[in-house]
Symmetry: D2
Subunit: 337 residues, 4 copies
């Protein structure tokens, strides 16, 4: 249920309304826009009626939230959510660029790449320390040692850090080293993990599952937000279709769709989306033209020797050139880099 | 088999090589780049060997064409194909913009829209006279009367005409009125129809089937080209995936992929690709950013009363604004409008 | 609109109702069940109301047909449609088994296989004379010569003939040689071709398109039936999914779904559905267990030398064994072979 | 690498070979068939060559395991794996039937259903206590209380218990109450969870992810087996396709494919696969006809009031009838119930 308070309703009124809703067994969330409070009450609505609530003092209207995601919906939160991470304001006018290697492989690799991407314009460094791999026999990441290297390389270059958390038991560890907790596509519906990161106050980047509908993706964001963590950004990284020429099918249609349905920022990952180096730049440009709030891109100075995903990593000079193109396209859509 | 002649090989030599190949039962196609002839010989290769052919006078090399599409491949034809239609040079530096209503509905509708799209920058007018409809009980198009109206509306505004041909028996009729014969997605593997338009010398726009791989799409182009018609442009119009929020999933990944594999121009149809009016412009911008050679867009001055596809048609003023944005994005990728 | 006449309504009454509906611009189709006439009136319903029609003499009720397919729906035609072809009664209690080579390759091949499949229990012989091939350079079938051979081989063994028609201009030719006209998956939405076979009185087998929903498939059947030809059987032959281990994904779920939605017989083609010889028998057994009315199976006595689809053709002795298993499974679901 | 020892190789020889492989940094697994040892050595193979290993005493051959899954492959383990759970021998000649409610809702519900399914022929009771739900606001299961009820209801009726584990931290708890740990489709690539259940010695049922290829599914089994737990059964429960009439598309093709590639038992879940009550029995019959080793079916005595998945649950009398049909079909494929 979405309750809109009257303009000028006092804090006491707002507090009363929220207390009454809680007493009816509902979870209550509030957001303010244009000087008015909006309250989302979620849970079993059988103890209250819309008409009842609409008649309470200070309440202007009470209506059904039209979609199964509530806190993630624009109906509840009309303005864009902006998430502040280091120098980045994800979801604000400036496009956020995250870049770095697929996996952290060592000190030299991480520092070399961090310097390159920072110089080109990135404000967040990516790098995996725990890697979900299809094969149990493949490289699984450097673990905590990788996180330490990543943190130092990022700090040395004024970058924030994003890294993947694979398990509820890793959330504390990752929270110590990373500024953004990444939930991978394979874990998009690992609800225990969503619950756990929802209990932190760290920004979360939620990747879309390989065959998840947009609605399921937003419902997974809702799982995080329902625990109290509103700092969620979404990441489109390609869906599975019948086409096998590209690694996945980057679904840029999702960008304008999500921007309409939700207030959460949308980041696009063209590296995993297409999986072919020379197709990354065209799709990155297209993502910004379609309205994405940011990009996350794999960059490696020596991709032929990368321990994972070398074939889709940009060389630093390609990344430089891409950021320059993004700058112009961003202006066309009222953004900047 | 791809045969590269030596630089400076005479026409007599080239002619001899082609005659020998034909005598071996092969179909022979020739293209010239950088002053040298390339010859594609297709069919049953059992009567000749690569080594034999490579030893013929004037032949520099004879090699396997690496993919099942031959004439459509960049290996055979390294330069971009440019197709001249009215004022448009499809595949050249300038982006080609095709626009118009889904169906021709009458004189006034067609002339109103033609004037609007011509003024905004389109050079080709689209409009269906024969409509493939899922239901036998739905509006099937105005037929020849529609073609006449379309032709007049386009002529009055200096536009070329593209319209769909559904059947081998309609090819002659469509050829009289249209400058580009459109093969619809449902007919992408209607080989009899591909054969028939391959026998004409009209430019053909081949839409990608709803669940066709890129390779199958290029193989269908090959069916046309094998009959002698090299003027084929490809049109990405959305594929079928599990996502139901959008009508289809516009697969922009296909744009850079096809540009690498083939020399044929690629047009993107965001209207059918997403099927939602306010998502058409973002995807059109993205298509150009990804490297498409052109766009085909549904425009209607009164979409609420359109007989088909109103919900995805742009208003003329939206189309105007979109073309302006496209102009800037085109420059980023070395193109113009 | 579905109009149910009262029990005992006379032929004159029925005729009056139908005339009135036709005068309102509607196409009218009639079927009788349990001694009562049902009339489907399709087209633009704006000239009549349900209440009006329900008040006409002899009319018991007039209601909306709930789905976009009308003549193909069980609501209009509650009993199973049975199509008589040679010795086969497709859709009746006995399972219909169609078998033969992918392509007719010559006299000896056709006669050898015809004898084998007839002996095992098939009543219809399959065999392609015009083959839709992805490559224009692949074997395209023997054409009319193939049809003649097929007819003779079938006649010599008491079999009916099914063969594919690819084009409106071939309908007459195919009708002379075949008892069932097959529409291939690639042509499922070739509406010109559906219209043309709808004008014949030959039984038609409509294969499901590679990425067609069940509703679109039934709508294509409706295109045929709307022209007057009610003898349509449907053929599930595998859909396109992300899984690449099998050639296609045979969708047996479609069998019970179509049997509920429609009165038309459903044939399953496990050969194209999985495309791997030793998976054909398990899927054929499963099809019958799921409620299919028949099977169409590729059988070849020398599959290693088949000109097409050898890898998925059963050897005659495998086909024998399969038919024996089918016999027992058929009994479990109240059928026989 | 797959190493086959000579017939009659002694235990000392086998032990030496395994030690040498371990010293080369490889993980070593052994299985014996027809009196001969087979050893799979997995990991980084750079320290040994196939020729070297083949020349070791007692070694007959050393070859590449042809697929990325090693322990799960038939090449390593030619005979069917049989998993003993209560009275069930999963993978043996008798078909295993698992049945019960989607969620445990209370004492009476669980005991009523347990009695019904035991009487009909089931040997394992299913029932969720922790439910992965798309919405954070939906019923999430009774938790440990549900497990206790489930255990008592099963024990009272001589049934084993299968229940879903959603998180690494739940593995201990679930292991106390359940005989088979179920990994749900959404967690098929939750590698932390696979690792954790791989460390137990409990049988695991691994459901196929909604859009997972067969190879990815077997790779996830490999993640479990690489930790030492060989008691893995696979469960096909429907994949995501474009078809929306059914909840998912039950992919029975996967049954014969997995039975060829792997020695692990395959269970089919028609309830989630189609999601429509009256389509469950046809697909269950089809699964057995296709060669499945067992079924897992949702049964509820009062599905209209079920807290989850009521629309796809069979009534007990429908389940009875289904088991009777399965009995006959099982015989056709050399099995029994």
């Amino acid at each position: 249920m979405l309750i809109l308070l009257k303009p000028g309703a006092t804090e006491v009124t707002a507090s009363d309304v929220m207390t009454h809703l809680r007493m009816a067994g509902l979870a209550v969330h509030r957001t303010d826009h244009d000087g008015r409070a909006r309250i989302a009450a979620v849970g079993d609505l059988s103890a209250v009626t819309f008409d009842d609530v609409a008649s309470w003092p200070g309440v202007e209207s009470a209506q059904k939230l039209p979609r199964p995601f509530k806190l993630a919906s624009r109906a509840f939160h009309p303005h864009d959510t902006i998430i502040s991470v280091g120098r980045a304001m994800v979801g604000a006018q400036a496009i956020t660029i995250m870049a770095g290697p697929c996996s952290v492989e060592g000190e030299e690799q991480a520092f070399t790449i961090a310097a390159a991407v920072a110089k080109a314009g990135a404000t967040v460094m990516r790098g995996g320390a725990y890697k979900p791999r299809t094969s149990p026999y493949a490289f699984q990441g450097l673990g905590e040692e990788g996180l330490k290297i990543l943190r130092r390389a990022a700090d040395a270059n004024g970058l924030a850090v994003i890294s993947e958390v694979m398990d509820t038991q890793q959330v504390g560890l990752l929270s110590r080293y990373a500024d953004i907790l990444q939930i991978g596509a394979r874990n998009m519906q690992n609800y225990s993990l969503l619950h756990e990161v929802g209990l932190t106050r760290k920004p979360v980047m939620l990747k879309r599952g390989l065959s998840s509908t947009i609605e399921e993706w937003l419902m997974s964001a809702e799982h995080i937000m329902a625990q109290g963590n509103q700092q969620v950004m979404l990441c489109e990284r390609g869906i599975r279709t019948f086409e096998t020429y590209t690694r996945n099918t980057l679904d840029l249609n999702a960008v304008p769709v999500v921007k309409e349905l939700s207030h959460l920022p949308v980041i696009v990952d063209p590296s995993h989306g297409v999986g072919i180096r020379d197709k990354v730049a065209p799709m990155a440009r297209a993502a910004i033209a379609a309205g994405a709030d940011g990009l996350i891109i794999e960059v490696h100075h020596d991709p032929d020797h990368a321990l994972s995903d070398g074939a889709q990593s940009l060389y630093p000079h390609q990344f430089d050139e891409l950021v320059a193109q993004i700058r112009t396209i961003a202006e066309v859509v009222g953004r900047c880099v």
